[in-house]
Amino acid sequence: MGEVNTSATADISFLLLIFFIVSTIFAEEQGLIMILPGKKREQDDVVRVRESNIATIRVNYDNSLTLDKKPVELNQIKNLVEARILANEKTVVVLETHPDAHYGRMVAVLDELKLANARKLTLKTGKR
């Protein structure tokens, strides 16, 4: 009886296995998710917010930060915003970034805001 020699299958499988182990990248994609406001809608869809409920964080052209025009450091933002939301749960955080500021700086601030559990969040681009 002719029999197929299978002693090499393990070796072949091992080779393939090593190839796939080496080439596998496990999907690790993480990011900060935002929903943009979409196209300009009808006038009555526009949400009006009282100015006293707005906390504006600016990232200036030199990457310095201000909260309601007072200079702040990155590591203070989480606590300050948390306190603002605790004091007034209607607080809307506006993150206004200057076009010349670095993207990484804006993401760092956004990260702090997410950590501070700021749900009402708007992105705005500053004027040059």
């Binding site: 496990f26 200057h98 993401v107």
Partner: protein, 142 residues
């Protein structure tokens, strides 16, 4: 008793290897199934770091690479800001749950990102994700 010892000493111990092929095959199938080959090379970017990043389903993502010089790459093609609207209107109509993943260099001027987002709003691709590096040492941030 003594005879038994003698017999077993003469016989060489053996590890059964008959099932090794099966085990290797199982592992092989696992890795074949989980392997995802990189589809696009994009642009070299240094992603910003963040702690609050959420994981998103890979199938929903469409990538935009923006490097520090402000060059924009979609589907491995360099594109202008004005082309983004049409490209993403197409993508958003194919997949309404689309999430646009910004793979943007940390030193890119925000203005470029802002311009791209304006186009995305027009294209009705409103779910965006600012992709970050997975935090290795917390505290070291931009």
């Amino acid at each position: 008793m003594a005879m038994d010892f003698g017999r077993s000493a003469r016989k060489e111990p053996q590890i059964p290897t008959a099932s090794m092929g099966d085990i290797v095959f199982l592992l092989l199938i696992f890795f074949m199934v989980t392997t995802v080959f990189r589809k696009e090379t994009g642009l070299p970017v240094e992603l910003p770091r963040a702690e609050a990043g959420e994981e998103a389903q890979r199938e929903l993502l469409a990538n935009i690479y923006i490097d520090r010089a402000g060059r924009i790459s979609v589907d491995d093609r360099l594109v202008q800001v004005k082309h983004i609207r049409d490209i993403f209107r197409q993508k958003a109509s194919e997949n309404p749950l689309l999430i646009v993943a910004f793979k943007t260099d940390t030193n890119t001027p925000y203005g470029v990102v802002s311009d791209v987002m304006e186009e995305l709003k027009e294209a009705n691709a409103v779910r965006v994700l600012f992709q970050n590096d997975v935090e290795i040492n917390p505290g070291v941030k931009y």
